[in-house]
């Protein structure tokens, strides 16, 4: 039987029920986001002559002005908004924005962070000094206002949000990877690889990074949670996705107008954001604890 490093972490991770529950939630959200067009749509799908309607038979933008601001009911489990759109359907479609922003932004920041972190940590010297100062300068900026300012210039769109969040949140990963590389590069197995005749690139990608990756994974999980939160805040302030695409933040923002008459409009997206961010944070914590208690090497 192979007891790989990953399976050891998994065994440790499983011990925390909360983390496992959170992981299940995260995975189901992922599935919902991917299959949103099948889950919430007013078009029925025909399979072999049979017409099957989606579980939520409303598209996020199908207006029904005769059913404005209806409370939760059997047909609209989470009610309808000011234009008679189904809130649940909007939430399902909104999860696509949140999750894609979360993952792409974190992907960008992790790539930048790993690259700069490896350069600084592995090569050290002047390269390290320059990159470390760059990290410190970046960290001094109040990130959220920087993002707001940049978006005000280049205009809000889902891609711009992803890129801007990614470009401003790599400092944590970079510091982490730098630290790990500093620690690992003097380890004997790295010297052993060099003794075997391996070149720098091979040492970095085969020996350093896989060992540095677990803390990066933890930090990335927390990163997804915070990116989702940033996107929601931006959309709430109107700097986010254009109004035609539903996002949890923009739903919240629209709900403001009806706060006193339609509580479900505020509660539903608010709860969705809360649950998602909490779930990612719990998974991150579970991962951190699974990696931390020094796995027997």
């Amino acid at each position: 039987m192979r007891h790989s490093y990953a399976s050891l972490i998994w065994r440790q991770f499983k011990k925390s029920r909360l983390a496992v529950a959170a992981l299940i939630l995260v995975i189901s959200l992922f599935v919902i986001a991917i299959f949103a067009p099948l889950i919430a749509s007013d078009k029925s799908i025909s399979i072999g002559g049979f017409k099957i309607s989606a579980p939520i038979p409303f598209s996020p933008n199908s207006y029904d002005l005769s059913r404005i601001l209806e409370g939760p009911s059997f047909t609209h489990p989470l009610g309808t908004d000011g234009q008679g759109r189904d809130v649940l359907s909007q939430l399902v479609w909104g999860s696509r924005v949140s999750i894609s922003v979360g993952f792409v932004a974190v992907g960008i920041s992790v790539i930048i962070g790993i690259l700069l972190g490896v350069l600084a940590g592995y090569y050290g010297g002047a390269v390290d000094i320059v990159i470390s100062r760059l990290i410190e300068v970046m960290m001094c900026f109040p990130t959220f206002f920087l993002i707001l300012a940049v978006l005000a210039f280049i205009g809000p769109s889902i891609y711009n949000i992803m890129i801007v969040i990614g470009l401003t949140s790599w400092t944590g990963v970079a510091r982490l990877v730098r630290g790990e590389c500093l620690k690992l590069r003097s380890r004997e197995f790295v010297v052993a690889a060099r003794v075997a005749g391996a070149r720098d690139r091979r040492i970095v990608f085969r020996h350093l990074l896989p060992n540095a990756l677990s803390p990066v994974l933890v930090s990335a999980t927390f990163g997804v949670a915070s990116a989702i939160l940033v996107e929601a805040s931006l959309s709430f302030l109107g700097f986010g996705v254009p109004p035609s695409t539903a996002s949890w933040g923009s739903l919240l923002s629209q709900a403001q107008d009806f706060m006193d008459v339609a509580w479900w409009l505020t509660l539903a997206p608010g709860f969705a954001i809360f649950l998602t961010v909490t779930a990612y944070n719990l998974v991150g914590e579970g991962l951190r604890d699974a990696i931390d208690p020094n796995l027997k090497t």
């Binding site: 192979r2 007891h3 790989s4 490093y5 010297g125 003097s186 380890r187 004997e188 197995f189 010297v191 052993a192 690889a193 060099r194 003794v195 075997a196 005749g197 391996a198 070149r199 091979r202 085969r206 020996h207 896989p210 060992n211 796995l295 027997k296 090497t297």
Partner: protein, 328 residues
């Protein structure tokens, strides 16, 4: 003809506190199939000398500042100075011609790769070949170093193996390309005594079978006695004595060697109560070496002359060499 001929090798570390002369003017030669022992206390520069031969001194702060490492690369051609090779040429020699194993088998293996991946690495780097071919060679290597059920163990991770097994894996890694020279840096220090003997036997047996030369770096005279024919004693970055192994035990010439040999715990019952002999003091600060002999402050026989100029490494009978004005 000597396989390796080191001339006046000097490796210095440039630190904020000053220049650390970790290896300072070391010369020796190594014949084909020979086992050479290098002994000395911790911090006397043994490991740095070994790493210098591989040209793997961490730079900065370290640098090989002088000397020659003549290496008989081909049967017919003349020797090549390793220090003159380009980094690329040197990389082709590391692992293929010159291999090395380390003290700590626990940390010398990468915890996230299987042992098969790690042994296969050198084979892949130097001979290339298909995955299956590399795997076959890896299994062969595991068999060679005496690991049972190699077909199964090849997919194990380092943490699934004991210290002795890991050291065997390290040896398999080092020998996978059949190097000419194996540098073993304290290969048995971290292992318990019964495993030590097994590993030493294994190295000796493989040496005979593969016809390679071994440079065995250790602080343990027991290990030296067991496997080497010739031994070099190192102190403060310099060689202080060189002699055939039996002679050094029978008649150590340098006061430092005498001290080291006296510090080996005796096996006699009556010795139970007697205190273990030590050499007073410790290795001098390599940044501020004293004028004259580096051993003067710890030497029981120190004379005024020793504090003025340093003795040369002088030739004695039977191919012995010693760096002392008043040997024996």
């Amino acid at each position: 003809m000597a396989l390796l001929n080191v001339e006046n090798l000097r490796t210095h570390f440039f630190t904020d506190a000053g220049i650390v002369k970790a290896v300072d003017g070391v010369s020796f030669s190594l014949n084909k199939g020979e086992t050479l022992g290098v002994v000395g206390e911790s911090g006397c520069g043994k490991t740095m000398m070994a790493l210098s031969l591989m040209r793997l001194i961490p730079d900065p702060p370290g640098k090989i500042v002088g000397g020659k490492i003549w290496y008989q690369l081909t049967q017919t051609g003349g020797p090549v100075d390793l220090l003159m090779l380009t980094p690329n040429q040197m990389r082709g020699i590391r692992g293929k011609r010159l291999a090395m194993i380390f003290q700590e088998p626990m940390t010398s293996l990468n915890p996230v790769l299987t042992i098969g991946d790690q042994i296969g690495e050198a084979i892949e780097l130097h001979t290339g070949g298909q995955r299956r071919e590399v795997r076959g060679k890896t299994i062969e290597m595991l068999k060679l170093v005496g690991i049972s059920a190699p077909e199964r163990r090849i997919d194990d991770y380092p943490h699934q193996m004991s210290g002795g097994m890991r050291q065997r894996v390290m040896i398999a890694m080092a020998l996978s390309c059949r190097p000419d020279i194996l540098i073993a840096d304290e290969p048995t220090t971290a292992l318990d005594v019964t495993i030590q003997a097994q590993i030493l036997d294994l190295i000796a047996e493989l040496q005979k079978r593969l016809g390679m030369s071994v440079i065995l770096v250790t602080h343990d005279f027991g290990v030296i006695a067991e496997v080497t024919k010739r031994v070099i004693v190192m102190y403060a970055g310099r060689f202080v004595e060189e002699a055939p192994t039996e002679e050094i035990f029978a008649r150590p010439l340098h006061p430092y060697t005498q001290g080291l040999l006296r510090a080996i715990p005796p096996l006699k019952k009556s010795a139970e109560k007697t205190k273990l002999a030590t050499i007073p003091g410790s290795v001098p600060d390599l940044i501020k070496l004293p004028r004259g002999c580096t051993f003067q402050d710890r030497c029981p026989k120190v004379q005024p002359r020793c504090r003025i100029t340093e003795p040369e490494l002088e030739d004695k009978d039977n191919g012995r060499k010693v760096r002392c004005y008043y040997p024996w």
